[in-house]
Each structure stands twice: as structure tokens, then as C-alpha cells.
Symmetry: C2
Subunit: 230 residues, 2 copies
């Protein structure tokens, strides 16, 4: 995943992915405008593997995160970007600075599918577990960005076990996805959540804490499980 | 805040606020590119008023959220946006669908100031409380968006009381900010956090839960405080 080469950056004057619009309006008598991005809503899923008592997450190289760190170290990279030309990144930072830990997630771009159906597809594609919509627990929804996109994300919880694993996950290589499935043991999860040397989204920290408040107290104790299985 | 009129939307071909770039790279042998937005890091602050045992938050009209809801109800608004022209929104949705509850927050765009100094400025400007950097507790940092921006947000906790209030807050009207300060009583806060009829960011839900796990158990009981003050 971290074999990243031939990095180059250019201004982006037209994009299938970034669609900027401007809203003009009058608020309490004052004329205003606001630039925003049209984008899709999304779902994300906290996955807990009960067989091995661990969270199942994904790890990806994120170009936007990488460039954010590049600018922090080399602000001049963007200063020379007035012209419509590629700038090769000399002495690029190691790719690992752009790798983040995230919940399994996906955008809502299939009109015929419910949020739950899209969530199940993502769990299968990215992490390799087959779950049904009835097995999802909806945690809540919120705005994933209020300045730029305004889009809504809905967070689900899914419990899986090793028998539900049908493949390795990893996303859809044909769509350019390169996703590594990672497991965070329950016992280390809150330490991981607050350890900033592992770059992550707020969704990871929030959902781990939600699990510890809402699910962990009801988990069978390890001793009880051992006795039951004897 | 909700007196919004003369709504019109247009494509945005150039913006001081949205700066799109394209990163091209080769990953594990495959040539790829990714469009992203260059933006600023940010800070957000969970504020708890000990005098009145409530959280202090901000409420704003967010054009990006409003347009997200507009598209949900009237998808055709964006379909006719191929030409460089304003489209007035006929029968616009009520402005309240674009109003969100958020933590006090701000972007990091002053090179000479620390994250803590910027956080204190935002607490004063938006909410009207004077806090010093020594009074801030850093909770953690994370990526506020991994797809589009990759930027980092750092979350702080600040305890205030009524004596620290120096004004009404409300943001900087000269910069077009129109911010309403709202107080959420501690006793109602978790119900509020999961009540989706109040549109909000994940930061609100996360930080309220963090408070209940980390701060609430150490708060003096109401009875004890009453006895002490007699």
C-alpha cells in the first residue's frame, strides 16, 4: 500500500469528483454568498468481531491527508501553483504520513438501495464479512461537514464472527481501491483511540467510546464464555 | 438568523474559498490521481458553564447543509447547472433545514498563533467567554475529512462560569458571521446528542459523551455545592 511513487500536483480546473457551487442569499437584510461542494451522503460501520473480540477497520493511503502533511512541511508546494502545470514533488514525504485508520464506510450513490443495504455492501467489499441488513444496529446520523459539503453520514454497528467471513475484503481494485483490513483488539481499543501517532477519523474514536458505553457492559465475561464452551 | 431570502445557486468556476488540486501518483505499480481541496486545519472547543451546569454551543445557518437538504427534496436544482447562470430557488425550503448545532470552532489561519491561542479567540468571539490558554484541556486531534480535505482538527475542553462572560459572543458580523449562542443543560445533553431532529456535527455527540465519561464523574454533587455555599 505504501509503495507510492511519481507524485505530482497540479491545479484542478474541472473535476468529475469535486463539483463546486455558489449559493447567494440575503440573511437578515445582508447580501451574502457561500461556496460549497456538492457531494454524496455516506454511511460508516463500526464492526466488532466477537470470535476474536476485536474491531475490524480499514487502513488506506489518502491523497488529501498526504498533501495536507506535505504542505505542513513544504508550504511552497502550493505557492507555485498559479499556472496550469504539474509540479513533481521532490524529496516527497514517506507515503505513511498519508495512511489513515478509518471505519468501514461508503458513499450513498445508488438510488435503489437503502442506507442499510449500502452499509452491508461496504462491509462485504471492504472487510469481507457477510452481514444482513437485519443485523445492523443504527447508532445515529449527523453532518459530516458543515462548511464545505453539508452532507449527512449515518453510523451503524455490526457484530460479526469468523464464520461470517467470506473473503479478504480490500475494496474494489478495479475502482482503484487499495484497502488493508486491520483488527484492533478490544482491550487496546481506547488506548488506540487516543494515540495520535495512529492518524484516524473522529468516527473511530466516537464509535469505540460508544461501544464501551453501550455494548461492552453487556458482553459475556471471558470466564463465562470459557465455562459455557466446556 | 432564519430570515433567509433571495436564494440563488450557480456553478462556481473560481473561488477564494475552494481551491481544488489534483495529485497524480503511482501506487503499487498502478497510475492514479485524486482530486482534493486545499484547506485549513481547525480547532473546536467543548465549553461547559459550571455556574449553570450547561454546555455552551453555537447555532448557525449553513448554506452547504441547506443545499444538501434542497437537493434531497428537489434534485433538479443541480441538474440544470451546466450553464454559467444563476438559478433562483423557487419555493425554497424553510431556512431552518440549514441550521446546525455545533461546537465553538475556528480555522487555523494565523501563522503566529498557537492552536490554544486560536481556540481562546474563538471562545471569546463566538461565545463571549474569556478563557486563557492555561485553562484549556486538549482532548485529542483527528482528521476532520479524509476524502476531500485531509485536514486536522484539534478538540479542546474549556470550563467557564458566568463571571468569565464578557459579552454576548455571536461571531464577527463584519465577516458575515451570524452565530447564536445556545446552552444545553447537562441533564438533557445525552438525549439532545442522539435526537436527530436537532441537526449537528459528530463533534457535538463525541464531546458530550467524552464529558460524561471523563468529567461528569468528578463534578461536585449539587447537594454538596449547596451546602458549601451556605
Amino acid at each position: 500500500m505504501e509503495a507510492i511513487e511519481e507524485l505530482a500536483v497540479q491545479p484542478c480546473t474541472s473535476s468529475l469528483y469535486l463539483r463546486p457551487f455558489r449559493l447567494s442569499y440575503r440573511q437578515n437584510g445582508t447580501k451574502k454568498f457561500w461556496d460549497f461542494m456538492r457531494t454524496h451522503d455516506s454511511v460508516s460501520i463500526l464492526i466488532f468481531n466477537t470470535s476474536r473480540q476485536c474491531f475490524v477497520m480499514v487502513k488506506q493511503f489518502r491523497p488529501a491527508v498526504y498533501m495536507c502533511e506535505t504542505e505542513r512541511h513544504h508550504p511552497q508546494v502550493f505557492e507555485s501553483q498559479d499556472k496550469e502545470s504539474f509540479t513533481s514533488l521532490e524529496n516527497p514525504l514517506p507515503a505513511v504520513v498519508g495512511v489513515t485508520y478509518e471505519l468501514c464506510a461508503g458513499i450513498v450513490d445508488k438510488p435503489g438501495l437503502s442506507l442499510e443495504e449500502i452499509a452491508c455492501e461496504e462491509v462485504l467489499e471492504e472487510c469481507g464479512y457477510r452481514v444482513s441488513t437485519a443485523e445492523l444496529r443504527r447508532i445515529t446520523s449527523y453532518r459530516s461537514g458543515v462548511g464545505l459539503t453539508g452532507s449527512r453520514q449515518t453510523l451503524f454497528y455490526a457484530e460479526v464472527n469468523d464464520q461470517m467471513r467470506t473473503g479478504g475484503g480490500g475494496g474494489q481494485p478495479e475502482e482503484g481501491e487499495l484497502i488493508e483490513v486491520v483488527e484492533i483488539p478490544l482491550g487496546e481499543s481506547m488506548k488506540f483511540a487516543y494515540d495520535e501517532t495512529f492518524p484516524k477519523t473522529m468516527g473511530v474514536i466516537f464509535s469505540f467510546m460508544w461501544f464501551h458505553n453501550n455494548i461492552a457492559p453487556k458482553l459475556p465475561k471471558k470466564e463465562e464464555r470459557s465455562l459455557e464452551s466446556q
